[in-house]
Amino acid sequence: MTEESPDIETPKADVAAEPATPEPPAEAIAASAPQVEPAGEPPLLRIEGVGKSFGNFRAVDRLSLDIRAGEFFALLGPSGCGKTTLLRMLAGFETPDEGRILLGGNDIAQVPPHLRPVNMMFQNYALFPHLSVRDNIAFGLKRAGMARAEIATRVAEMVSLVRLEGMEKRKPDQLSGGQKQRVALARSLARRPQVLLLDEPLAALDKKLRESTQHELMELQRRLGMTFIIVTHDQEEAMTVANRIGVMNAGRLEQVATPRDLYEAPHSRWIAEFIGDVNLFEGDAGWRQGNRLTVAIKDGDTITVGEPRQPVTKTAVCVAIRPEKVKLSRRGPVSDAANTHAINRLEGVVSDVGYLGGLTVYKVKLDSGIVVRSSMANTARLNMDGYLVGQRVVAWFTPDDCMVLEQ
């Protein structure tokens, strides 16, 4: 509604008010309108200061979060961080001690699960063992009082959506793990919930199947235009499927960002270490020159870093750099660029080589004793002359590839 109104009404108003003026640039107005509008659009799901304790354990600590319609949102965190408790509060299996959960503007925090317009896909699938695939999928539709013919149509639709044709009469114990997962997905989607909650939906599948299923989930979510909230402890899974990720730790959200921002611009040292692999250098922030900041690390080495996103207020900082952004060479970077002087060079000896197939991870022990990891893509099958253990190398990286974090 709110999205459409400016597109349709604004040009009309313009024409009515100033009929004499030449053709207004309608395209320009239409293009600028969406930029203004979304700010006013309320989120589909708003979590406001929600808290939940179990005895003395604070599972979720006054957490607030907005989720927009059509988003694929991931709650990521180590086990015990409260992500599952938060999801269970959205489903209605737990009642928050405080705060509000607004779905489309209505507070559902105290609404029992069977009256909520959300559905959940369970980690162990929780398929009814005494019911066939068809009856499992139809379970929620029958409860909604849907007509028989309509149920049959919807079930058939769901069965084909998850490609389980011919399996309708089977019982759950006659299905493979992957098939059970599909039935669970079809069952939770059948009622067309406003929000689909997925609790570690792929944890029980093997790696190959998990990866292909991740892509199917994304495809499905895009096609249905539904809002998905997934809970996972697998960061690769979260980064693959989600538009936005909320990283949780000890009942709080550490950072909510796109996968790319989480990886390339983490807000804290904890996030930088939690998401992916990272080299960390502790040091003191030194002088600033233009948009460059120099950080003194151990043994008199310095690292020049690009302008940090957030202004550094403390002296004790931490420079983080991802291993794939650390390059190795025998003599240092090729000096053709104008700002060669700004490139960081750290000398050391290769101490370990780990061949992973697509990547090779080198550990370089710097003269200061710090170990730096560098990963290099094996882009050619033959003649990839790598580095050998004991070889003296220069590890180099640009200032813009470094991230400065407060300790």
Partner: protein, 304 residues
């Protein structure tokens, strides 16, 4: 090689043991009973003919076989006494089992939903009456149910009745005794099934729009049916053959088959008819036993 030989002996013995037990303590005695049921009563020691005498040689055994007949079974079907005892036994068993299920299911369900640490205590409370002899507990009920017993005193004190009610020697007393005695056998298998049920199934049912009451009927109850079957058969079968409780608590008006059997055996000293009644009782109980076996097998297959 040698290791295999060492383990072959005991392993085979262990496999044979249950069969040996069945043969020795069920099949052989049943053979005796079956043989007596085909014999004729006699004033002798033992009180029936023919008696197999191995010392007299093969010919006498052959002659003895010739004397066996189905006369006693004919008597069982022709005499109202036996048929009515059988019918009463089945009726009493059906009614008692239904009451047991109605009481036992909620108790077992409540136990299964207790906090985990309270469950063993609840279990103990169900089992604890077994520490007292069954017979003593039935006599205790006589004490409670008699004219000036505890039950009448309480009812009078509460002004629920104005004069003592006759409890003892009624069917009500018998049902009280049976339900009291068999309740643990109903509760325990039900509890075992309900306690291992996956809680997320109920959450899933709720998530899909089923109210807690509907979730119970659509998920919990159908999944507890194997436990219901186990409890029903564990109670129904022995109640059909029950002797002590009806003898001590029920009136003398009509008898259950166990009482009829006792009467034939001890009072009338008619071992062959008593044996025939016992064999017939066993045949009567085979269908529910087979049913139970099938259900059990289906549960095992479903679980795997």
């Amino acid at each position: 090689m040698s290791a295999r030989r060492i383990f072959a002996g005991p392993a085979r013995l262990a496999a044979i043991a249950p069969y040996a037990w069945m043969v020795l303590f069920f099949l052989v005695p049943f053979g005796f009973v079956l043989k007596i049921s085909l014999s004729q009563t006699a004033i002798a020691q033992p009180p029936y003919v023919p008696v197999f005498d191995v010392t007299e040689g093969w010919a006498s055994i052959k002659a003895a076989f010739g004397q066996l007949s189905l006369d006693n079974f004919r008597l069982l079907v022709s005499d109202d006494l036996y048929i009515s005892s059988y019918l009463r036994s089945v009726l009493v068993a059906v009614i008692s089992t239904a009451i047991l299920l109605l009481i036992g299911y909620p108790v077992a369900y409540g136990m299964a939903r207790l906090p985990k640490r309270w469950q063993p205590i609840a279990m103990m409370l169900v089992i604890v009456p077994f520490w007292t002899s069954f017979l003593i507990r039935i006599y205790a009920w006589i004490n409670i149910l008699q004219h000036d017993g505890l039950l009448n005193k309480v009812l009078l004190a509460l002004h629920i009745v104005s004069k003592p009610v006759v409890w003892l020697s009624t069917d009500t007393a018998m049902y009280i005794g049976i339900v009291y005695s068999y309740l643990p056998f109903m509760i325990l298998p039900l509890y075992a099934t309900l306690a291992k049920m996956d809680g997320s199934l109920l959450e899933a049912a709720g998530d899909l729009g089923a109210s807690p009451a509907r979730a119970f009927w659509l998920v919990t109850f159908p999944l507890s049916l194997p436990g219901v079957a186990a409890g029903v058969l564990l109670c129904f079968i022995p109640i059909v053959g029950e002797f002590v409780i009806p003898d001590l608590l029920a009136g003398s008006g009509s008898m259950m088959i166990g009482q009829t059997l006792w009467l034939e055996f001890f009072t009338n000293k008619d071992w062959p008819v008593a044996s025939a009644a016992a064999v017939a009782l066993l045949l009567l109980l085979i269908p529910p036993l087979l049913l139970y076996d099938r259900l059990q097998r289906r549960t095992l297959a479903g679980g795997g």
